[in-house]
Subunit: 359 residues, 4 copies
Amino acid sequence: VNFASDNTTGAAPEIAAALARANQDAHAMPYGNDPLTKRLTAKFSRLFEREVAVFPIATGTAANVLGLSLSVPPYGGIFCLESSHIYEDECGAAEMYTGGARPLPLPGRDGKLLAPELAKALSLYKPGNVHRVQPAAVSITQIGELGHIYSPGEIARLAKLAKRHGLVVHMDGARFANAVAALGCRPADITWRAGVDILTFGGTKNGCFGTEAVIVFDKAKAASFAYRRKRAGHLFSKMRFLSAQLDAYIDKGLWLALAGHANAMMRRLANGLARLPDVELNHMPRGNLVFLNMPAAMVRALEKAGYAFYHWGNARWHTARLVTAFSTDPGHVDGFVATARAASSGRKPKQPMAFLPRP
Amino acid sequence: VNFASDNTTGAAPEIAAALARANQDAHAMPYGNDPLTKRLTAKFSRLFEREVAVFPIATGTAANVLGLSLSVPPYGGIFCLESSHIYEDECGAAEMYTGGARPLPLPGRDGKLLAPELAKALSLYKPGNVHRVQPAAVSITQIGELGHIYSPGEIARLAKLAKRHGLVVHMDGARFANAVAALGCRPADITWRAGVDILTFGGTKNGCFGTEAVIVFDKAKAASFAYRRKRAGHLFSKMRFLSAQLDAYIDKGLWLALAGHANAMMRRLANGLARLPDVELNHMPRGNLVFLNMPAAMVRALEKAGYAFYHWGNARWHTARLVTAFSTDPGHVDGFVATARAASSGRKPKQPMAFLPRP
Amino acid sequence: VNFASDNTTGAAPEIAAALARANQDAHAMPYGNDPLTKRLTAKFSRLFEREVAVFPIATGTAANVLGLSLSVPPYGGIFCLESSHIYEDECGAAEMYTGGARPLPLPGRDGKLLAPELAKALSLYKPGNVHRVQPAAVSITQIGELGHIYSPGEIARLAKLAKRHGLVVHMDGARFANAVAALGCRPADITWRAGVDILTFGGTKNGCFGTEAVIVFDKAKAASFAYRRKRAGHLFSKMRFLSAQLDAYIDKGLWLALAGHANAMMRRLANGLARLPDVELNHMPRGNLVFLNMPAAMVRALEKAGYAFYHWGNARWHTARLVTAFSTDPGHVDGFVATARAASSGRKPKQPMAFLPRP
Amino acid sequence: VNFASDNTTGAAPEIAAALARANQDAHAMPYGNDPLTKRLTAKFSRLFEREVAVFPIATGTAANVLGLSLSVPPYGGIFCLESSHIYEDECGAAEMYTGGARPLPLPGRDGKLLAPELAKALSLYKPGNVHRVQPAAVSITQIGELGHIYSPGEIARLAKLAKRHGLVVHMDGARFANAVAALGCRPADITWRAGVDILTFGGTKNGCFGTEAVIVFDKAKAASFAYRRKRAGHLFSKMRFLSAQLDAYIDKGLWLALAGHANAMMRRLANGLARLPDVELNHMPRGNLVFLNMPAAMVRALEKAGYAFYHWGNARWHTARLVTAFSTDPGHVDGFVATARAASSGRKPKQPMAFLPRP
């Protein structure tokens, strides 16, 4: 039973069926010149309530950095959280795709990059100082890598500041569905209406085999995308197999239904764990992701019972990351909580636990 | 009915079934830490009769340039045919992945890059001349972009020369299966035994949804692959869905059976067309690909009858490319030939036709 | 006595004096914020009869590729002669500075890239074909690497075609002074008035210690130059020492006087050699550079007499390159001719000699 | 009178004379094939008491990143201080030259990157974690950007740790001469004997027109340098004019004499300022560089008196950077101190002043 990541899951049945259907079409012109791909534009434009450019991309890393590469010159800087995926988990992909631009890591507040921190950072980058990289973009992750969710207002304030300084606003939405489901907002509310220019619209973690979509809200800015995608080896000859997944994913609200389930499972999990005095959550999650501190003995008990998840720490305390998914079984959640409860000391630790950085 | 490319096809039933099976596994560790991916090494090592490093990669372009990037420094040069995929059809991917190395286009003989042409080219690149890019690799395509097949001896002679000059030998095997099926040789005979160091082992054009494998014959040379793949955004979180395809593809000779069918269909097509005096083939194909000249009127007749294929030319003559695939219907082949015959003038053109370059 | 290259020379006395003068200024703000650098803009704008952006750069290679990097995206292509410096003699600098764009080598006619060849090449690059690099620039060398000089009309016809296809026009003017001196035209006539967008204005080969200027005729296009220069390590802290050279170089026509002498010396040399029946010039030079075929014995006699120059060939014939410079001594020219004459067989070879490619 | 930077100076008389001498040589083979360049190897090898590879490079930025590019792969990470030149003042040059590697900014202690901070940073980069950049190098600056000097022991402890983790050790020695002069050690003691692999040996700030040397202590590691330099446009055709400067610079201890003077001037300046209660130095400098806090009114008085230097701050307090050089006049130092003293309030501020980050 796996709470390690939402990418340990398979594909949702509706997605699998869509792929099988697409395969019944004996012949389709390659490289996106097929009907399934072509209709994505209209479909995503409806979803986002404006005309958008949409590009199916197989991995989240590629989607992020292709999106950024549209607007960030090789001498540019990209403000982001020091815990962000583009900084910590993409092995320098941003540098590769922009031709050398630099992610500029900033400390966050509650796992988020908010306007005040950006303002402080910007004050150290005087425009026209040729000795420093030139601020070109700010990238935020929704929901954040530590599980937090940006409100529409938080995004709008950050984006407004960013634009006053000429920065493009990028959103890594690997778990975008979880955010929309949790906020109960419209997709536009936390993207272009709040000032986001480019979005990685995640599918893989929420029921697809392996597909994201890069959404560019100002189509004119997407002019170079097709060439950048091709030279990166991310133009699929049989692109319809990506498009079929995306098509089914956003059909009749499937994506939100799947994410809603994942969020509900996380709520159930967090509620159960929050009652244990020797467990400390980094926040009360509304999405599908939480970090927590727990006694090392509790970790051992859970692993012995067959629960898999990432954790790191010392002989007494561990920091752990728990993730639920579209396919998480409520019974597994309850079992996890019960096992943790059984292993709990029932006592609060004397000193507050510090969340340990992930190695 | 489509003879435009083998990548207009879907996936073979066995591949589709393998993917569906892999999806029944509710949870698998991501990023290749799953059992399906892990057993690929042993399976491909058996296939190639030596221990190899194998990496599932979703597109042929990415597979080619990740392979090349292992050994080609940013100031390096890569000898290749001027008609090769890495030179003409990858929008500068080789440059992107190597950090700026240069594909050096050479003229071919019968669609192949053979030792004499390489020798001539090498004579203009003196080692240690810092003003020029430094020859670092030679890349050949098997079967070639114009349909020709390298014999084991041709490869061995080229590779021997290459190695004497310190070049790594790369093979773009997007249609490797068609070559092995046509030659009736063992995979090793036209790869490492002949001196090939790195192979793009194609799957997509021959029955997969979208998967190739990069094979590195000297495992020590593959040490940086995992990092290069990740930063290129080609590390799939749900990698087992690529691995499942490859696993089924090489299981019980499926790959060769599929390619054998494609080759047989091409033979049938070529035999039929070769009899028409106003059709000229660029060679008598043993693989699944041919170029030919035909009257513009014949092109029109075929398109009117519903046959799709790439062609270009002027008011009188067109050069066309025809490709068969694992799924080609013999009836469609016969129909194509019959339509062409009906449109044939029955007369040889007075002057030989020149094959026109593809725009 | 050296006819190998104009870069074997030292600095002209006027340039050396200007550098010494600049060094008497005990303090000057660094990185180009000094008076000498600041006045270059006005001075070059007068020289070119329009407002220009000007950037001192220490080497010709850097000047060329920084200029190109302003307008060529990483997926772009740069048409150039296969014998051009950016293709053959810069070890992939164009790729490095553009982030991976590709120089596209074309055959020339009389050592020049003219409109018809460009038109033919462009016909193979359909706009919007994502599989190929996208034509973005054409680069020509004035005077050419084989010694030829483009006329204003030739440049205008090439540039007009280039612009119709959206290409930027770049001129490598390492020997720009020699061209202007030979043509007796105004600098504007063979640059922006003929459609050139970016110029490498050479100084090093014609009397400077080591300085070129990148001239951008549309200042708006130069916006990113300062950042690109800095990240390439080509922003000099003591930039005034480059600027002082350029300032003196274009003062009171010094640059044209120096180049005029070099051209005159070449004319004297070529006239003398053209009379020898076993010497064949590649063209009758108007600039300061010529290629020629001569008997291997003549090469030996010249070297024995102490003349240094580049040559390559076989036991009977060699191709040689001869270059004169601002500092060439007429007596040395006469001595070279006399030595060649004494070694001449006095007979025309039975078969025409082929110019051998430089290794 | 300028205390802004040691790069506002001109060239020392001995260097200027050497350049003029080199210019009397009418002809010299280009690209470093001249006698002056060739003898640098022996000369620097003697200076460093072992055989070294030495490459003249015109700017410090280029020297730093060419050196790093020898050993840092595009997916690599370079540990450095967050205040280091390669992180803050080279506009992404490290990224450009390594093909995308990432400088990893670390906090320092007393302006230095010491072993404990590196150990902490390394603990977060597990080898083989493909999601993160791979630690490949550590780069320190001697003397540091804030004026501090690493002792031989500090370097040795850092280098020992670095090597245990497979990191190459790079030293930005833009002010290397000031460090050697201050420490009274041998050049080897703070470089290869302490574990440094690659050194930027600065010349420009200490009396050259514009020349540094990259020193590679293990010659085998320098194999690709010549190609990397050429493609970066940093191979000078008239290289002897760089070599002549370096040759004179290290001749008969000139470099140490010049640096010794700069250090002495700084000592005199710091001693004078340290006595003022409303001036706070960031450290008692042994080199030629110091940061200090002073009242805004004092800044105004100094500027009014004609002293130029960098400073930033608010209405009451400013942080300033003062730098002395080989050519600093003792009278100017005394004048600066006297002016500051006259503007001093004579009172200590009630609260300690915080050093403000440079914008």
